[in-house]
Protein backbone atom coordinates (compact mmCIF):
# COMPACT_ATOMS: atom_id res chain seq x y z
CA UNK A 1 0.00 0.00 0.00
CA UNK A 2 1.46 3.34 -1.02
CA UNK A 3 1.44 6.37 1.27
CA UNK A 4 -0.70 8.20 -1.30
CA UNK A 5 -3.33 5.43 -1.26
CA UNK A 6 -3.41 5.56 2.53
CA UNK A 7 -3.60 9.37 2.58
CA UNK A 8 -6.59 9.27 0.23
CA UNK A 9 -8.53 7.45 2.95
CA UNK A 10 -7.75 10.13 5.59
CA UNK A 11 -9.34 13.50 5.16
CA UNK A 12 -11.22 16.49 6.50
CA UNK A 13 -14.02 18.14 4.57
CA UNK A 14 -16.66 20.86 4.84
CA UNK A 15 -19.25 18.83 2.94
CA UNK A 16 -21.60 16.37 4.63
CA UNK A 17 -20.15 12.87 4.97
CA UNK A 18 -21.37 10.23 2.55
CA UNK A 19 -21.03 7.13 4.73
CA UNK A 20 -21.46 4.78 1.79
CA UNK A 21 -18.51 6.46 0.09
CA UNK A 22 -16.36 6.01 3.22
CA UNK A 23 -17.27 2.31 3.31
CA UNK A 24 -16.38 2.15 -0.38
CA UNK A 25 -12.86 3.42 0.40
CA UNK A 26 -12.07 0.30 2.43
CA UNK A 27 -14.24 -2.52 1.11
CA UNK A 28 -13.13 -5.21 -1.31
CA UNK A 29 -13.20 -8.90 -2.03
CA UNK A 30 -10.77 -9.54 0.85
CA UNK A 31 -13.31 -8.26 3.37
CA UNK A 32 -15.67 -10.44 5.38
CA UNK A 33 -16.70 -7.48 7.54
CA UNK A 34 -16.79 -3.70 7.46
CA UNK A 35 -17.10 -2.05 10.87
CA UNK A 36 -18.14 1.60 10.93
CA UNK A 37 -18.19 4.23 13.65
CA UNK A 38 -20.13 7.47 13.21
CA UNK A 39 -19.82 10.42 15.55
CA UNK A 40 -23.00 12.52 15.51
CA UNK A 41 -24.01 15.86 16.98
CA UNK A 42 -25.95 15.48 20.24
CA UNK A 43 -28.67 17.92 21.28
CA UNK A 44 -27.45 18.45 24.85
CA UNK A 45 -24.33 18.29 27.00
CA UNK A 46 -24.45 18.20 30.78
CA UNK A 47 -28.12 19.17 30.65
CA UNK A 48 -27.47 22.22 28.47
CA UNK A 49 -29.22 22.31 25.11
CA UNK A 50 -26.86 22.32 22.15
CA UNK A 51 -28.11 23.84 18.89
CA UNK A 52 -25.01 23.10 16.79
CA UNK A 53 -21.26 22.55 16.71
CA UNK A 54 -18.39 24.37 15.07
CA UNK A 55 -15.35 22.23 14.23
CA UNK A 56 -11.99 23.86 13.62
CA UNK A 57 -8.91 21.89 12.58
CA UNK A 58 -5.21 22.24 11.95
CA UNK A 59 -6.05 20.57 8.74
CA UNK A 60 -2.70 19.47 7.34
CA UNK A 61 -1.58 18.05 10.68
CA UNK A 62 -4.94 16.39 11.32
CA UNK A 63 -4.80 14.56 7.99
CA UNK A 64 -1.24 13.52 8.74
CA UNK A 65 -2.32 12.22 12.15
CA UNK A 66 -5.23 10.32 10.60
CA UNK A 67 -2.75 8.64 8.24
CA UNK A 68 -0.57 7.78 11.21
CA UNK A 69 -3.50 6.21 13.09
CA UNK A 70 -4.59 4.23 10.03
CA UNK A 71 -0.99 3.11 9.49
CA UNK A 72 -0.91 1.90 13.10
CA UNK A 73 -4.00 -0.27 12.80
CA UNK A 74 -3.07 -1.65 9.39
CA UNK A 75 0.29 -2.71 10.86
CA UNK A 76 -1.18 -4.10 14.09
CA UNK A 77 -4.18 -5.99 12.66
CA UNK A 78 -3.02 -7.80 9.56
CA UNK A 79 -5.22 -7.43 6.51
CA UNK A 80 -7.38 -4.56 7.73
CA UNK A 81 -8.00 -1.45 5.65
CA UNK A 82 -9.30 1.71 7.32
CA UNK A 83 -10.55 5.18 6.45
CA UNK A 84 -11.28 8.30 8.52
CA UNK A 85 -13.32 11.26 7.26
CA UNK A 86 -14.01 14.21 9.59
CA UNK A 87 -16.04 17.34 8.99
CA UNK A 88 -15.03 20.90 9.73
CA UNK A 89 -17.22 23.98 9.96
CA UNK A 90 -20.76 24.31 11.27
CA UNK A 91 -22.78 21.15 11.98
CA UNK A 92 -26.43 20.92 12.94
CA UNK A 93 -27.76 18.57 15.61
CA UNK A 94 -27.97 15.06 14.19
CA UNK A 95 -25.25 15.59 11.59
CA UNK A 96 -22.38 13.12 11.23
CA UNK A 97 -19.12 14.74 12.36
CA UNK A 98 -16.79 11.79 11.79
CA UNK A 99 -16.99 8.47 9.97
CA UNK A 100 -14.52 5.63 10.44
CA UNK A 101 -14.69 2.46 8.38
CA UNK A 102 -12.56 -0.63 8.84
CA UNK A 103 -12.67 -3.59 6.49
CA UNK A 104 -11.21 -6.92 7.56
CA UNK A 105 -11.39 -10.60 6.76
CA UNK A 106 -13.04 -11.30 10.13
CA UNK A 107 -15.09 -9.05 12.38
CA UNK A 108 -13.01 -9.22 15.57
CA UNK A 109 -10.07 -7.32 14.07
CA UNK A 110 -12.44 -4.78 12.56
CA UNK A 111 -14.13 -3.92 15.86
CA UNK A 112 -10.81 -3.64 17.69
CA UNK A 113 -9.17 -1.53 15.00
CA UNK A 114 -12.19 0.78 14.74
CA UNK A 115 -12.20 1.37 18.51
CA UNK A 116 -8.47 2.08 18.42
CA UNK A 117 -8.94 4.67 15.67
CA UNK A 118 -11.66 6.69 17.39
CA UNK A 119 -9.78 6.69 20.70
CA UNK A 120 -6.57 7.86 19.00
CA UNK A 121 -8.47 10.53 17.12
CA UNK A 122 -10.09 11.85 20.30
CA UNK A 123 -6.71 12.38 21.94
CA UNK A 124 -4.19 13.23 19.24
CA UNK A 125 -5.97 14.79 16.26
CA UNK A 126 -5.75 18.61 16.24
CA UNK A 127 -9.49 19.21 15.81
CA UNK A 128 -11.48 21.48 18.12
CA UNK A 129 -15.16 21.56 18.88
CA UNK A 130 -17.11 24.66 19.89
CA UNK A 131 -20.56 23.93 21.26
CA UNK A 132 -23.19 26.48 20.34
CA UNK A 133 -26.06 26.91 22.81
CA UNK A 134 -29.23 28.97 22.56
CA UNK A 135 -27.50 31.62 24.69
CA UNK A 136 -23.77 31.33 24.00
CA UNK A 137 -20.95 29.00 22.99
CA UNK A 138 -17.90 27.29 24.50
CA UNK A 139 -14.82 25.40 23.34
CA UNK A 140 -15.03 21.79 24.50
CA UNK A 141 -12.11 20.57 26.59
CA UNK A 142 -11.03 23.92 27.91
CA UNK A 143 -12.99 24.10 31.17
CA UNK A 144 -14.36 27.60 31.54
Amino acid sequence: MTDAALAARCRLQEAPIDVTAVVGMVGGSFAGAVVTFLGTVRDQTGGRRVVGLEYEAYRSMAEKQFARFVGEVEARWEGVRAAIVHRVGHLEVGACSVAIAVASAHRAAGFEACRHLIERLKVDAPIWKREVYADGAAWVGWGS
Binding site: E56, Y58, K122, A125, P126, W139, W142
Partner: protein, 92 residues
Protein backbone atom coordinates in the same frame (compact mmCIF):
# COMPACT_ATOMS: atom_id res chain seq x y z
CA UNK B 1 24.54 35.83 15.21
CA UNK B 2 22.50 34.61 12.28
CA UNK B 3 18.74 34.89 12.65
CA UNK B 4 15.88 32.70 11.52
CA UNK B 5 12.14 33.11 11.12
CA UNK B 6 9.53 30.71 12.34
CA UNK B 7 5.79 30.81 11.71
CA UNK B 8 3.48 30.25 14.68
CA UNK B 9 -0.17 29.21 14.27
CA UNK B 10 -2.88 29.54 16.90
CA UNK B 11 -6.13 27.61 16.92
CA UNK B 12 -9.53 27.56 18.62
CA UNK B 13 -9.61 29.20 22.04
CA UNK B 14 -5.98 30.34 21.86
CA UNK B 15 -6.60 32.01 18.50
CA UNK B 16 -9.66 33.76 19.93
CA UNK B 17 -7.98 34.97 23.11
CA UNK B 18 -4.91 36.28 21.30
CA UNK B 19 -7.03 37.64 18.43
CA UNK B 20 -4.39 36.18 16.12
CA UNK B 21 -4.36 33.14 13.83
CA UNK B 22 -0.70 33.24 12.83
CA UNK B 23 2.39 35.38 13.10
CA UNK B 24 6.15 35.17 12.73
CA UNK B 25 8.97 35.28 15.23
CA UNK B 26 12.62 36.08 14.62
CA UNK B 27 15.01 33.99 16.69
CA UNK B 28 18.75 33.34 16.82
CA UNK B 29 19.79 30.37 14.71
CA UNK B 30 19.95 27.22 16.81
CA UNK B 31 16.99 28.20 18.99
CA UNK B 32 14.80 25.55 20.51
CA UNK B 33 11.04 25.41 21.00
CA UNK B 34 11.51 26.60 24.60
CA UNK B 35 13.22 29.77 23.35
CA UNK B 36 10.29 30.47 21.06
CA UNK B 37 7.81 29.92 23.89
CA UNK B 38 9.68 32.51 25.97
CA UNK B 39 9.44 34.98 23.07
CA UNK B 40 5.74 34.24 22.63
CA UNK B 41 5.07 34.89 26.32
CA UNK B 42 6.92 38.19 26.09
CA UNK B 43 4.75 39.25 23.16
CA UNK B 44 1.40 38.00 24.51
CA UNK B 45 0.71 38.51 28.22
CA UNK B 46 -2.46 36.37 27.92
CA UNK B 47 -0.46 33.35 26.84
CA UNK B 48 1.18 32.47 30.16
CA UNK B 49 -2.02 31.22 31.77
CA UNK B 50 -2.89 29.13 28.70
CA UNK B 51 0.48 27.46 28.11
CA UNK B 52 0.13 24.75 30.79
CA UNK B 53 -2.94 23.50 28.89
CA UNK B 54 -1.56 23.43 25.35
CA UNK B 55 0.67 21.06 23.44
CA UNK B 56 3.16 22.22 20.87
CA UNK B 57 3.79 20.95 17.37
CA UNK B 58 6.70 21.66 15.03
CA UNK B 59 6.12 20.99 11.35
CA UNK B 60 2.95 19.02 12.16
CA UNK B 61 4.50 16.75 14.80
CA UNK B 62 3.98 17.03 18.56
CA UNK B 63 7.24 18.11 20.20
CA UNK B 64 8.72 18.99 23.57
CA UNK B 65 10.44 22.25 24.49
CA UNK B 66 13.84 20.74 23.69
CA UNK B 67 12.98 20.37 19.97
CA UNK B 68 15.30 22.27 17.64
CA UNK B 69 13.80 24.88 15.32
CA UNK B 70 14.91 25.61 11.75
CA UNK B 71 14.46 28.67 9.60
CA UNK B 72 10.95 28.33 8.14
CA UNK B 73 9.67 25.92 10.80
CA UNK B 74 5.92 26.02 11.40
CA UNK B 75 5.02 25.84 15.08
CA UNK B 76 1.46 25.35 16.31
CA UNK B 77 -0.14 25.68 19.72
CA UNK B 78 -2.54 22.80 20.21
CA UNK B 79 -5.17 23.47 22.90
CA UNK B 80 -7.10 20.49 24.30
CA UNK B 81 -8.77 18.72 21.38
CA UNK B 82 -12.41 17.86 20.79
CA UNK B 83 -12.26 14.58 22.69
CA UNK B 84 -11.69 16.52 25.87
CA UNK B 85 -8.99 14.17 27.19
CA UNK B 86 -6.50 15.94 29.46
CA UNK B 87 -3.33 16.70 27.49
CA UNK B 88 0.11 16.30 29.03
CA UNK B 89 1.22 19.50 30.71
CA UNK B 90 3.95 21.53 29.07
CA UNK B 91 5.74 24.07 31.21
CA UNK B 92 7.46 27.03 29.68
Amino acid sequence: MALMWVKVRYFAIVRERLACAEEEFELPEGSHLGDLVAAMKARHSALGAMLPHVRLAVDEEFQTLEAALQDGSEVALIPPVAGGAAPPTRRA
